[in-house]
Amino acid sequence: MASVAELTSVHGEAVRGYSYGFLDAVSKREIRRSLLKAVAIPGYQVPFGSRELPIARGWGTGGLQVTLSLLGPGDVIKVIDQGDDASVNAQNLRRLVERTSGLQTTIETGEATIIQTRHRIPEEKLREDQMLVLQVPIPEPLRRVERSVRLARQMHAERDYSRMWLAIYEDIVRRGELGGAAGYPVMVNDRFIMAPSPIPRWDIPKLNMADALFLFGAGREKRLYAIPPYTRVVPLEFEDYRFEIETFEGKACARCGATDTFMDETISIDGDKTYTCSDTAYCETVQMGREVTRWS
């Protein structure tokens, strides 16, 4: 695909003034500084000046700003939405990245250096040289117990999380089990409670002591946060009510036959249920008979 220089030569005025990777250098520096701070304080939400982008808020502007600030020549970009490279959103984001940077994009998880994702972590284990950028709708895990931004910040500052624990206790009282399907709150580095973005429970264990760097961007809410490699990340649980991931017992992917991936359920008009791997790229590798490393 064309680089900015090539685009300029073809379209002239229309693209003049845009930088490499869409964002100007000053913006990128600010975002990178904020990301450094985020990495230095695992799980802490760093406020940042969220820029205007050619997509609306709520469509991944946070994740996009992170990706655009970090990419450079030599990077290979993968974009997925709910595990799918082919979804409309993923396609559009990928196209924007391609056109403003001229970088190579890929579907192969193992080939990417930066993976931007909405609501899923790939089934293939990520390496030390890879970064996962997650799109975050609501970065504040305490929002359900404290609506005031100021008071929530104070709770984080003082590590005063009893009301959050209370909410989880109440869930257990009301339902007999831990609540929350997606975006289950986690304790990072034994210090901050963090919202991992609406990833399924299935993906939560991947955050703990990973080789890769996880970066979280919330564009509308203007917060960035990070989990550096080899950080302890533990879902909030009680001694007698432990966190559990979803089970897909007795189910297999209709496309590749895998029984050990996170699957999407599709219900046909006749009421038949089929299950398919949510991570389409991984599904491909299984179909092709390729072995890839999984998270432990």
């Binding site: 206790y169 257990i172 009282v173 009680f238 001694e239």
Partner: protein, 281 residues
């Protein structure tokens, strides 16, 4: 031997001024001035230079009318509000060597969740009405790092039993309880973590008479059974007579008299106390 006893709580020079305050505030206000309002700077002296002691295992009554500052004393002790000046030493906190008002935020949470308990006149102030009764108690346990649901439920059930709240209501929301039962849940919550000192602010005001009797009886019973130390604030002398071993009388933010309860009520020395006692039915 008694003379050397260290009080459980020692409050020294507690002053709370609403407004900017000035050097004349204390002399412009108080019982002799018959006002809380400092005419020099327009501030309100809610309480001025209050000295109070509570000993282990005793109930101290704090009596006075509106404007006496008695509730302000409790609010400062529980740190719902910070005093303008003064110090308070609790033997259970830093061995009584550090004023509770010098506490760090973590220490303050410890004070509010473990070392002290508070029951407010309005249950809304002490409970989250939309959290289950058991959950309200569990909040204090969680604050001191309990992490076992079954253990917390057992403990909460225990406290609720002590305050005679039916166990079946443990998972119900206090929003739907009667006033008396809400108070009982509040008391149960205040008892959680076995605090050194429990603060009771107008415990029964607003409750029906028969309900008041039950709640008062409960408090006496708990106090005896568990040797609780408490400060009971009330404008109702009969509550003070029933619960308090010693009593402090406040007017316009100052302490005007203190002594053994029956002596203060039967042989009041200060003019204001005499007025108060003779006004009671």
């Amino acid at each position: 031997m008694v003379m050397n006893e260290t009080p459980l709580l020692s409050v020294q020079g507690l002053t709370k001024i609403f407004g900017r305050g000035c050097p004349q505030c204390l002399e412009q206000t108080g019982p002799t001035a018959d006002s809380n309002y400092c005419s020099a700077c327009g501030s309100i002296v809610a309480c001025g230079d209050v000295n109070i002691e509570v000993y282990d295992g005793e109930v101290l009554g704090l009596v006075g009318e509106s404007g006496s500052g008695k509730s302000t004393v409790l609010q400062c002790l529980f740190q719902d509000t910070m005093p303008s000046s003064g110090a308070a030493y609790l033997t259970a906190f830093a061995e009584g060597r550090k004023s509770i008002w010098e506490a760090t935020s973590g220490e303050r949470r410890m004070l509010r969740n473990k070392l002290l308990g508070m029951v407010y006149q309005n249950p809304r102030d002490g409970l989250d009405l939309m959290v289950t009764a058991g959950g309200n108690i569990a909040e204090r346990l969680l604050a001191v790092d309990w992490r076992n649901v079954a253990a917390m439920r057992e403990k909460s059930a225990d406290y609720l039993t002590r305050t005679e709240v039916p166990i079946e209501r443990m998972d119900h929301l206090p929003a739907y309880f009667s006033g008396g039962m809400q108070q009982r849940v509040q008391i149960a919550k205040a008892l959680a973590n076995s605090p050194s000192l429990v603060l009771l602010d107008e415990l029964t005001t607003g409750l029906d008479i028969s309900v008041q009797a039950g709640v008062l009886d409960l408090v006496r019973h708990i106090q005896r059974e568990y040797g609780l130390s408490a400060i009971v604030v009330s404008h109702d002398l009969s509550v003070i007579r029933l619960l308090a071993d010693r009593t402090v009388v406040m007017k316009m933010g100052r302490v005007v008299e203190q002594g053994v309860t029956d002596q203060v009520l039967e042989d009041p020395q200060h003019p204001y106390t005499q007025l108060l006692v003779s006004s009671a039915a």
